[in-house]
């Protein structure tokens, strides 16, 4: 099997579309935005818009909640810590200099 690099869809999703795409309830999505776990833009009419990358964030929220029975506030903390660890782990990898 061969795989090519895949273009990322760039269209934003509104609340309904985002909830449908992630199989979640719009109320839950709204709550996660309020908790600062999901990032969303609010347009002039007050409607929430989500970048497609937020779908992966939502997936992680669902997995962490299902896997550990975490409440949503704790999911936010764990997600932040995982991101920070990923950054710290990536830093020495990129800073690796030639051997002298």
């Amino acid at each position: 099997m061969g795989y090519a690099l895949v273009l990322v869809r760039s269209a934003s999703l509104n609340l309904e579309a985002f909830a449908r795409a992630t199989g979640t309830h719009p109320d839950l999505v709204r709550r996660l935005v309020a908790l600062g776990i999901l990032d969303a833009d609010r347009d002039a009419a007050g409607e929430l818009w989500f970048a497609p990358s937020q779908m992966a964030v939502m997936g992680r929220v669902q997995r962490l909640r299902a896997g550990f029975g975490l409440n949503y506030a704790a999911v936010g903390l764990v997600a932040d810590l995982l991101d920070r660890i990923a950054l710290l782990e990536a830093a020495p990898r990129e800073a690796r200099r030639p051997g002298r």
Binding site: M1, G2, Y3, A4, L5, V6, T22, G23, T24, M55, A56, M58, G59, R60, Q62, R63, L64, R65, A66, G67, F68, G69, L82, A90, R93, E94, R96, R97, P98, G99, R100
Partner: protein
């Protein structure tokens, strides 16, 4: 419920690393600890997901005293044994026939959970869906798979030319082999994405992506810094002093480099854009780093000439 048992399945107690006599508390502790280590969002290793599912399934069976008793009595195929066969009676029968098996210390005692314990026979974790994998889908609906990460060690030549690499990963259905296209000019830490090849989503939710993180292996000749390559250029003292033209090994083959007169150790001669290529920009450079090397043993003629040079020269490399 979980998928049907596989023939090559490991023992559930072994998976959780507990003895068959473990209490429910010990089983839960072992499960929680392992789940934290192997959760696909914590552990990006592609093998972690299956390990997590295995752990979840083992816990699924052993955390319920009823299922655990049946597992102890009937073994991995316990789901095939009709519900009305009494595990204890079955085991006594087997023991009598001389095939005695250690009996699990099952029982309802000590069956507490961190979430409030046993509520009149209903496991509250069941209600909340305490995990996925073994109990996927209880109240959680489809959950997309996690992204995974694996390191891909490349040679400098592979990073330079690009190419294809066959990578074998352990997967749920045994090993799978992926053909990874390595773009020319890949650098250390760069991620190559294989869409949909990461963790599996449950109930038709999309799979995660698999990322290969490129790591350029140490090379006997080249050192890599971003897209720049560094290579040693050993020179004889007279070549460095008088200037010369020498061949330098590059990934593209040998290149002639002009060494200007009066070149000292540490000087970098740049070969513009002869480093690693850039798919959307200009290539890195190749730097030949001068290192002056003297003969370990001088011939009589060489010694005489160096003596002469030493007598004539007023050059002092330590003068400030």
């Amino acid at each position: 419920m979980a998928a049907g048992p596989r023939a090559d399945r490991r023992d559930f107690y072994e998976i959780l690393g507990v003895p068959r006599t473990a209490t429910q508390d010990e089983i839960q502790r072992a499960y929680r600890k392992l789940a934290r280590q192997h959760h696909p969002d914590v552990n990006k290793d592609p093998a972690a997901e299956d390990r997590f599912k295995e752990i979840s399934e083992a816990y699924d069976v052993l955390s319920d005293p009823q299922t655990r008793r049946r597992y102890d009595a009937f073994g991995p195929d316990f789901r095939q044994v009709p519900e009305d066969v009494d595990p204890e009676a079955f085991q006594r029968g087997r023991a009598g026939a001389g095939t005695g098996q250690a009996r699990g210390a099952g029982g309802a005692g000590g069956f507490g959970t961190g979430l409030g314990g046993d509520l009149g026979g209903i496991d509250i974790e069941d209600l909340l869906g305490g995990m996925f994998g073994g109990r996927a889908g209880r109240g959680f609906g489809p959950i997309p798979g996690a992204d995974q990460e694996a390191e891909l060690e490349l040679t400098v030549e592979e990073a330079f030319q690009g190419g294809h690499r066959s990578v074998t990963l352990e997967g749920p259905d045994g090993r799978r082999t992926l053909d990874v296209r390595i773009p020319a000019g890949v650098t250390n830490g760069q991620r190559i994405r294989l869409a949909g090849q990461g963790g599996r989503g449950s109930e038709g939710a999309p799979n995660g992506d698999l990322y290969f993180v490129a790591r350029i292996a140490p090379h006997p000749r080249y050192r890599v810094d971003g897209r720049d390559l560094y290579v040693d250029l050993p020179l004889a003292p007279w070549e460095a002093a008088l200037g010369t033209s020498v061949g330098v090994e590059t990934p593209r083959g040998e290149m002639k480099v002009k060494v200007p007169p009066g070149t000292s150790t540490g000087k970098r001669l740049r070969l513009r854009h002869h480093g690693l290529p850039h798919p959307r920009g200009s290539a890195g450079h190749l730097y030949a780093e001068v290192r002056i090397v003297v003969p370990a043993k001088l011939t009589d003629d060489e010694r005489r000439l160096f003596d002469e040079l030493a007598a004539v020269s007023t050059f002092d490399p330590r003068r400030r």
